[in-house]
Every structure is written in C-alpha cells, then in structure tokens.
Symmetry: C2
Subunit: 492 residues, 2 copies
C-alpha cells in the first residue's frame, strides 16, 4: 500500500483526518484553525461551485461581491445576528505595521495606526449586504434582488476539523430581497430544493429537508430551512441552510420600498449558503478503508489508465492505445489520467488512485494488447471486469452513471437502516448509543425539553422534516402531547 490510513471501525475520526491528508485534499496551516485546501481538494470544490453556480443562475440569480470587512456599528445593527456571531469574530484594529525598534528585521503593530472603528472580518454578510441594499432599493421596481456571493468567511473556532469546522472557510451566500412575505418564503424554499437536488444528484447524498427548531435557527432568521445528511458513523451533518429573514434585516438597516400602491414598506429577505464543509460530507458519506469514493459527477479525474509493462516497446504500444481511449473519453467531457510514471509499480499506483477515489481504473498489459482486452475496475464496489479495448471508451459513460447511482443507493440504504422511530426515552437513548443515526421521536415543542435532551444525550433536533406526517403522540421526554415526530441525531 502506498499510504496507510486507519480503518473506520478502528477509529472513524482518525480515518477521516488521515484520509483528508493522505488523499491530498487539505491540511492544517501555520495559522491557527485555518486550512490549506490542496489542489486535489480544491478541484472537488471547483466542481461543486460549477454545478451550484449554474443552478443559481438557472433560478435567476447573479453573482456580486461585497467587502470582507464589516464596521462594528453595522455588525451590531441586527441584534440577534450580532449576538449569535460576536463570540467568534476576528477583529481588525490596526492598519499598519512598523519596524520594531528593539529587534532589527522584526515588525510590530504601529500604535499610531489604530482604526477609529474596529472592523469585523465577515462571519456572514447580512449586515454589510443589507446596508448596501438600502442604497439599491427605493421602489417595488427595484425588487426582487437575487444576488449570490462566492467568498471566504471567518468564524473563530477553538476546536477545528479539516473541512468540517475551520476558522476560515469558503462558501457561497445568497442574499435576496422581496416585495412580499410570500415571495421571500418561496425563495427560501426554492433554494432549499436547489441544495437538496445538488446533494442528491451531484454528491450522491440523500438528504432530509426540514426546518430547524428555534434553538438551532440562524441568528436573525424567522425560519431556517435545512438539509440534513447521514454519515457512515451514524452522526448527522447539516449540509446546507436557507433562511427566511422576514423583515428583520430590513428593519435593522431601514430598507424600505414604495409599493405599487404608493405605500412605504419594509423589504422581505432571505439568505442561504453552503460551504467547503460539503467536501467533508462527501468524504464521510461514501468513502471506505481504502480511501475516497467520489461520485463521478464531482470527481476531478473520472478514469485512470495504468499501463503494465516491462519494456519501453511494450509501454509505447500501450500508450498509443491509452491515448486513443483518453481522447475518445475527453471528447465526451471526461477527465482521464494516463499514469505512465516509471518510478512506481502498478500495485502502488492502484492503491494511490483508490486512495484518491478515481471512479474507474483501466489496466492494460501486453497480453491485453494481444487479446484486445482491458481490465476495468470500479472504485465503488471494487468489482473488476474485462472489456474489449475497442468498446471500453463507449462503455464508460454508462458505467460512470451506474457508479453515481450505486453510490447514492448505498447511502440511501444505509440511511434507511439507521433511521429509527422510537416512542420512549429509553429506546431513544438505546438507539443513540447503539447504531446511532436519525431518530424520529415525538417532542413537545419546547426549547426546555430540547435543551434537556441535548444535555443528557448530546443529540439535537436536526430538523422537523417537511414531509413529517401529522401523527398524535406524546413527547418522549416530558410526556406532553405532540402532533408530529421530529428528527434527532448526534451531529457534526
């Protein structure tokens, strides 16, 4: 094996950390809590960006860019939002360094260059964006505003984890402004659906759509919609959120418009985002003890071709064929890597490309050339089959589609297996400590019960599923009546 990683059953957490590093996705940087996203990891993000960006544009949104910094006075304008993020903000206080008179070649912060007003490095951009929208909106004719931003944000974290929780991360944040409450709610729901479709179609990741309880709501939102995914260790991961902001930010920043009827009214808003955290979800949902398993729609490399040769002459013949296959596949939009390094043996290369999650591997040796065959290995199931050399290029698109579908089905089957309905608190704790997963249980709807359950079991209400049927029952904790099951889990 090229690079060993711990197995999932041995230590799921180390398996994840080592996999992220060994597969060249990301690493910790010299800046506390901040990661370096390495080229292979970044290329997955680029694939995600491309797909999402198209979906945003297809639903009428355009991109823009707003400042990294938020003056403190703007930051604090929407009180709940400010309160929610105040404890994790990086603050710029000075704008200059100067030579350290005590130590030659060293620099110190220039005390004469203190800012009159401190700047918050954006943890999210509602404040700076709504202060801008105030200038853009006068009349109903200026609405809706459907804007998205691709950006970095900073939320100071003490305990960090590559992709899942880092002080700086990359994301997109949509910020929209509307004439009516109904239109804003429709927008928030539309974007939830976009996220769910992206997760299922591209990430091969089944998700539950729902709304957050009050305790888990975005600070400053009236309603937070979310998609929740299940990881292989039975823990949930919030994969995207879409917020109906009501008129909260419009009121905080005094953003009003003149309606068709000539009345001055506050604007309705939404915001919605997904981040590089999705890469963490992708890894934890699908990968195995040999490394990454990437769904073809997000794989930076679709097919790797490994030549098996002893002589230069053999390599030359195989290369010619490999280039033919590559070229046919590239024309169809696939990325193909021909790994003809002579410094490594085939077995090493096999392990390396398995670690990196390339969906399909072709191995071609001298005997294959004679027989007109090629060994085709799929990464998801590790099954191998022999195909005719002349047919392999035309067979691969269907194989990749099959892999994409299979990865999704496997994740869906797993999620179904670890989704449990319980009716008692005993059963609830038993399931959580056993197989884990999503636990559907009745809840009395109070923040007190939610907090008590969290305190005792570390499980939180991931969401109230949108499709939860009306069903009368009693709260597993308080015994009070409930009309609907909510979805609990321990979560990332």
């Amino acid at each position: 094996m090229a690079k060993e990683i711990p197995s999932r059953s041995e230590d799921y957490s180390s398996w994840y950390n080592e996999l992220v590093k060994k597969a060249d996705l990301a690493e910790h940087s010299d800046v506390r809590g901040c990661m370096v996203i390495k080229p292979y990891g970044y290329s997955i993000w680029e694939k995600m960006q491309q797909a999402l960006d198209k979906m945003f544009k297809d639903t009428g949104h355009t991109n823009a860019y707003f400042p990294l910094f938020v003056p403190k006075s703007l930051f604090e304008a929407e009180e709940k939002n400010a309160e929610g993020f105040a404890k994790e903000c990086a603050i710029v206080t000075h704008y200059r360094l100067k030579s350290d008179p005590q130590h030659k070649g060293k620099l110190i912060v220039d005390p004469d260059a203190q800012l009159e007003e401190e700047l918050v490095v954006r943890p999210t951009s509602e404040a700076i964006i709504w202060s801008t929208y105030k200038k853009w909106i006068q009349s109903y004719r200026d609405l809706p505003i459907l804007v998205n931003q691709w950006a970095n944000v900073v939320r100071w974290e003490m305990r960090t984890r590559l992709f899942l929780r880092t002080a700086e991360f990359l994301w997109q944040e949509g910020h929209t402004a509307h004439v009516t409450e109904k239109e804003a709610i429709q927008e928030a729901e539309q974007m939830l659906n976009v996220y769910a479709e992206f997760a299922e179609t591209f990430m091969a990741l089944p998700v539950v759509k729902g709304i957050k309880s009050e305790g888990e709501r975005f600070p400053g939102a009236i309603e937070t919609y979310c998609i929740e995914a299940m990881m292989q260790d039975g823990k949930a991961l919030q994969a995207g959120t879409s917020h109906f902001l009501g008129q909260n930010f419009a009121k905080a920043f005094d953003v009003k418009f003149t309606s068709k009827e000539g009345k001055l009214e506050y604007v309705w808003g939404t915001s919605w985002g997904v981040s590089t955290r999705l890469i963490g979800a992708l890894i934890m949902a699908h990968s195995d003890d040999d490394g990454l398993i990437l769904p073809p729609k997000l794989a930076p490399i679709h097919v790797v071709i490994v030549p098996i040769f002893k002589t230069e002459e053999e390599l030359a013949k195989i290369s010619a064929k490999a280039h033919e296959i590559s070229s046919a596949l590239r024309k169809q939009g696939y990325t193909v890597k021909f790994d003809d390094r002579d410094t490594y043996k085939p077995g090493f290369k096999f392990a390396e490309w398995e670690l990196k999650g390339v969906p399909v591997r072709l191995a071609i040796g001298p005997r294959d050339m004679e027989n007109g065959t090629v060994e085709v290995a799929r990464r998801d199931t590790k099954e191998k089959q022999v195909m005719k050399l002349d047919e392999v290029a035309s067979n691969i698109p269907a194989l990749l589609d099959n892999i994409q579908e299979n990865i999704y089905q496997k994740a869906l089957t797993f999620r179904t297996e670890v989704t449990t309905k319980v009716d008692t608190y005993e059963e609830f704790k038993h399931v959580l400590d056993g197989k884990g997963g999503f636990v559907l249980a009745h809840w009395d709807g109070t923040p007190e019960t939610e907090a008590a359950i969290k305190e005792e079991t570390k499980a939180t209400i991931r969401c109230i599923p949108l499709d939860a049927p009306e069903e009368s029952g009693t709260c597993i904790f308080s015994g009070k009546p409930s009309t609907k099951r909510v979805m609990f889990a321990r979560a990332y």
Copy 2:
C-alpha cells in the same frame, strides 16, 4: 438620456467615476476604501476569470486555497517583502466581541480575547504559501509546483478609486516552485505572455511587455516582468506582473529539495497576478462619452433586442421573432437580452444599453416586421445598418468578431499616436505635458536619475520593453551613456 455622465474631455476622472457607478459596475461601500462589485461589474470579472483560468490550466497549473491570515512572524520572514507591504496591512488583534456594559445592544472588542500573535490580512500570499511549500517539497520529484489561487487581498490605501485602487480587491496569484533558475525564469516569462495574450485577445487591449526597473520591482523579487497598457487620457496602467523570485522566499522559509544528484538545494520561485484592476483598464481604454464599450469576448450581454411597439399585438409579433433570433444566437454561445419592459421608451432603452456597453443592439418595429428587416446598431462605432430578419442571427458572429478587432485596432492606433521617442529632457517634459502617453527615452540606469525624473515630472519608468533594440544614446537627464530606450509615462 437615461443617466448623464460627464464627457472625457471635460473631466476624465469624473467621467470614469460616474461611468463605473451609472453603468452599475461598482460603488463605494460603508467600509473605508472597500468597494461593492455590483452584478453587472462582477459578470465582467467572471468572464475574465473564465478565460484566464482556462489559460492557466492549459499551461499546467491547478488551483488551491491558502489562508486569508498570515501570522506576523511568517509575514516578516522575507524582509524586503515585509518592508514593502508593512505600511498597508490590516491587522487582526482580537478574536471576540462582547456586550458593551455601558451601552445596551452595542458591542466592544473583548480585551480578554487578544491574540498571542497578531495576524496580517494577506496583502499577497508569498509568505503563507512558501511556509506551506516547505512541507510539500523534499525531493526534485515534488517539483515543479504550479499552483494558482483566486482570492481577495487587502492593501490599506488612503486614496482609493473604484477598481483601480481599493483597500480590498479580488485577484489571482500564481505561486510556482522549480528545480532550476532557468525553469523559474521561463515560467515567469510564460505567464507574462499569457497575460499579454489575455489582454490583447480578450480585453482588446494592446500591451507592452517589459521588465521593471529596480525601483518599481515587486518587494522580494529578483526581476519583475509586466504588461503596460495605455489609457485614453495618455496615462499608463500596469495591467499585470510576473515575478522571478530567485531563491529569496526559499531562503526566507528554508525550502530545500534533494536534487537528482543527491545535493540539498534551495528551490527557485515565481509569482504572478492580475486583479479586478483590469476592469478599470478595460473601461478607461475603450469607453466613450455615452458609456461603456465592451469587447464582445468579455461582454456579459452580447446582443440586446429592443422592440418598438404601440399595441400588445405588435409586441406579440415582435416577441416571437425576437425569441427566434435569441434562440439561434444562444445556441452559438451568445448572451441575448430581450428588453420588452413597457415602463420605458425605446430611446431610453437605447441610451441605457449604450451606457452598459452591449456590443450589438437590434431594434425591431412593426414596419420591420412587414419588410422582414431589422436595424442593427454596433456600440463601438455607433454605425447602424439594416439587415434581413432571417439573416441577422447568422450575421452576428462575424459582426461581433469585427467589433472585437475594431476595438483592439482603435486602441492600438491611439497607443501608436501617443508613443513618442524623445532625445532631450525638454522634449520629454513637453510631450508629457502635452499629449502624454508613452515616452521612449534614454536613461542612465541609475535609481537616482529615475527618482529625480519622477520627482520633477511625476513620470515613472513603466518598463524596459523586452523588444527594445540596442541603441547607443545619452540619458535625457544626466547625459550619461545609455544602450537602450526605456518607456516612461505618468501612470495610474
């Protein structure tokens, strides 16, 4: 007219500022020195990114992402680089806000949350990237590293100007590491050529390739290559730079590799970048008193169709035809806007799309429908012609190519007109105060002369053109011998 802007001859600077704002490209934000890039402006940046990103990938580079923050101790490691940027750095000193006990609802910086080591918001990323490369590089087998990053950077500026000079801006920065000096120089030169090709092919902007004098060199570089462009007011604009860093950063961060021969050697480096400043260059090089003139290859909208109608019935007929034309053009990859707003008159719409620089405008009225004709107006020359409705879609690609070429030729002709060879200092000053532009003059090669000329005339050496012929002469300032003319100009 929809929105008035001052004419260039009246006040070039106000013309630029107003145009940027009125054409909805960007505006000042509530954060000192930072701009908001509005959707229309951002879509030009997206077009630029797309083209550049493809050129970077075609030359073997991949994207990655490095932290926004640079710990002060890393920042100061390469002394010249640190010294060059120290005076314009935003500094993060704290990581938390807390409630202001004196003012309810207000926040203050929590004095208990002071960072042990201050963080510099990256003004450029050599320091953080070379401290990372140290971990990536052991052997010659790990080289070259060919990485690019799309990111925001912050350079504290007192006098800012939308796109041209802002405290925060967006850019790309390539950072490469190589085994040999020769390879690194080739890389720096290759990227200079990529930038020049991008400027000329996409931006329709002729550029002079050259190297900077020592005084204008990037802090920490051995050699800075640049492309210089000419604006319509006779001032130069540096449009991109590519730096050969020698072993400076490798030495500062102790980045060594074991060579094929088993020797431990310092790595050779380059860095290169272009920024949202290019949008400023694009505007100032081509636009006119009626608004933007965008080269088709970077125009967010290629063709706008304005219906001229009185009745709903007329509009319906024109719409059907417009959709046919749009659809045919979209299939060929063009973006078409059908402006059927009933709240504005055609004249208003014409002015608005001229302001926004859409290369081609089609106007279709009831008489056109009868005659099977359409009025086609090109934005660059403002010429109008009548085409057959059935042929317009197939004629437009050639028309757009012609516009792209014409904009380039116009800029080239202008640059040629304002490029002057002078042999005396009197002549030099006369040209600068007259038509301005590029002035080719002999220089004795000393920083003292360069500084004195800058002090007296505000002109700087933009570059020593790569294609400057060997030619013996005498320095216009000192009278000392010189072997080559260098290119002076007043600059942005």
